[in-house]
């Protein structure tokens, strides 16, 4: 019975993440439009797109890896979500997190991109491969400050579990973004790369790479990717909120916090042109790295 409830909780989490992620995507489109002095699509435009993609025929495939690529991506997103406690008080939305899950997350988060990259590779489209190399390079870039921030946090609070961090924040009453500011700054700067908005949208790069890794995927493949991207966005945002912003006691708080956080990469992206790959990589090894080091020093000293 307990297992059944757990599974039910997991499914509920996924659905929630899907809905929230998709809505956020739509809202971002709306915001982008408003910034550009347009009316923009309705906030639910992403749902329409998703459904349309789902209803399209998918008549071709380039082989098994190509078919499994989106599934890999989805697995990665869902598993990531499973390990992120959505709400503080546990219950249905706590799912599978365990002591030390941060390191696990770091790896499982890449798993999907690699699987997707394999799928993209099998299509034989050169644009896909170029996009993949860019994505992997950029990943090496932003993972460094991100991990530095996490390590600094681990040093400072002697825990490697996300729930551990939430507990720390509940006990002390302050958000970790205030008690370890440098780690937060490093993490947020890394987040810019993680969300792949401008200026770090070098993977898709519609005008030069024809959307890169996904260029051979349409219909249901694209639907899977789109929804997994939404889930992944939600999972990442929740992770940040859990780590730095004290988690959330109910859904409304969660939505406010995640949305506020989400605006950082979105708004930064709106006013930035695109970097070249090596510029993007080097960007993360500049100030973000510096803040990461500061964070570690700060953590070691205090």
């Amino acid at each position: 019975m307990e297992l059944f409830l757990n599974i039910l909780g997991a499914i509920a989490t996924v659905i929630l993440a899907f809905i929230v992620g998709m809505s956020y995507g739509g809202i971002v489109r709306k915001i982008t439009a408003r910034v550009q002095n347009r009316k923009g699509p309705p906030w639910y435009q992403n749902f329409i797109d998703a459904y349309k993609l789902y209803s399209k025929t998918t008549a071709i495939h380039h082989g098994w890896m190509h078919r499994m690529g989106p599934a890999f991506l989805m697995v990665s997103s869902v598993v990531t979500l499973m390990f992120v406690p959505v709400l503080n008080n546990g219950g249905w939305f706590e799912n599978m997190n365990f002591q030390g899950d941060l390191i696990f997350l770091l790896y499982i988060m890449v798993f999907g991109s690699l699987g997707m990259a394999l799928g993209a590779g099998q299509t034989g489209n050169p644009n896909s491969a170029i996009g993949v190399t860019r994505g992997l390079s950029q990943m090496v870039g932003f993972e460094i400050p991100w991990v530095m921030a996490l390590v600094a946090m681990m040093i400072q609070y002697k825990t490697t579990s996300i729930t551990g961090f939430i507990e720390v924040q509940q006990e002390s009453g302050t958000w970790l973004m205030f008690s370890s500011p440098f780690a937060f700054i490093a993490a947020v700067l890394a987040m810019l790369g993680m969300f792949r908005y401008s200026p770090f949208d070098i993977v898709g790069a519609p005008s030069e790479l024809a959307s890169g890794p996904v260029s051979e995927n349409g219909g249901k493949y694209l639907f899977t990717m789109m929804s997994s991207g939404s889930i992944f966005t939600f999972a990442k945002l929740t992770l940040y909120v859990d780590l730095f912003m004290g988690g959330a006691n109910n859904l409304l708080v969660l939505l406010i916090k995640t949305f506020a956080l989400y605006m950082v990469p979105v708004l930064y992206g709106l006013v930035s042109p695109r970097y070249r790959t090596e510029q993007a990589v080097r960007y993360f090894w500049g100030w973000p790295l510096f803040f990461g080091l500061l964070a570690i020093i700060y953590a070691v000293i205090f």
Binding site: A33, P41, I48, D49, K56, T57, V214, G218
Partner: protein, 181 residues
């Protein structure tokens, strides 16, 4: 649309509604009409509010937008792109040139009537058609989709031999993969 033979009516309705409000456009932009696409998409006319949005590759696109004249040399490419698109798919002929050749009516190297080579769902008249006309064209397409009448792809499939014959007349060295879905 009546593609999925085993689908139900209400399902059709939802599908068509979604398709209608989410039109991903692959703009074939080498004709002079391509200049009208940016104003259509950007803030002045903002096609995105109708759900119209650019797509990067034929695999993702719903609509193939032929912006203006089509030379005999590029016809092959356009056909290839069209055949790579996934069902359901639509073609919009953009400008007079796609209807009857327009100002290139006597040119030796443009094709005159696009419909002989690709199943056009909606024509947008004008030389050039202004963005308002383009939006009107999209609205027409949406209407046709909602009614389930935008079935050019099916027509193409059914009359493939006829289309191929016309196409091969323009491109004598025809080396293209088979179209069989």
């Amino acid at each position: 649309m009546s593609y999925d033979k085993d689908s139900h009516k209400i399902f059709d309705f939802i599908q068509n509604w979604a398709r209608k409000h989410s039109i991903w456009v692959l703009a074939y932009g080498t004709g002079c009409g391509a200049i009208e696409i940016p104003p259509t998409m950007t803030s002045r006319y903002d096609a995105e509010r109708l759900g119209v949005r650019g797509a990067a590759t034929p695999r993702q696109a719903d609509v193939l937008l032929i912006t203006g004249y089509l030379t005999t040399k590029t016809l092959k490419r356009v056909i290839r792109v069209y055949e790579q698109m996934q069902d359901p798919k639509y073609v919009i002929g953009f400008g007079s040139c796609t209807i009857n050749g327009g100002m290139y009516y006597d040119s030796y190297n443009t094709i005159k009537v696009l419909d002989k080579y690709l199943p056009v769902d909606v024509y947008i008249n004008g030389c050039m058609p202004r963005p308002e006309a383009v939006l009107a064209g999209f609205a027409k397409l949406q209407q046709l989709i909602a009614e389930g009448k935008a079935n050019g792809a099916q027509k193409y499939k059914e009359n493939l031999e006829w289309y191929r014959e016309n196409q091969k007349r323009i491109s004598p060295h025809w080396v293209m993969p088979e179209y069989n879905w």
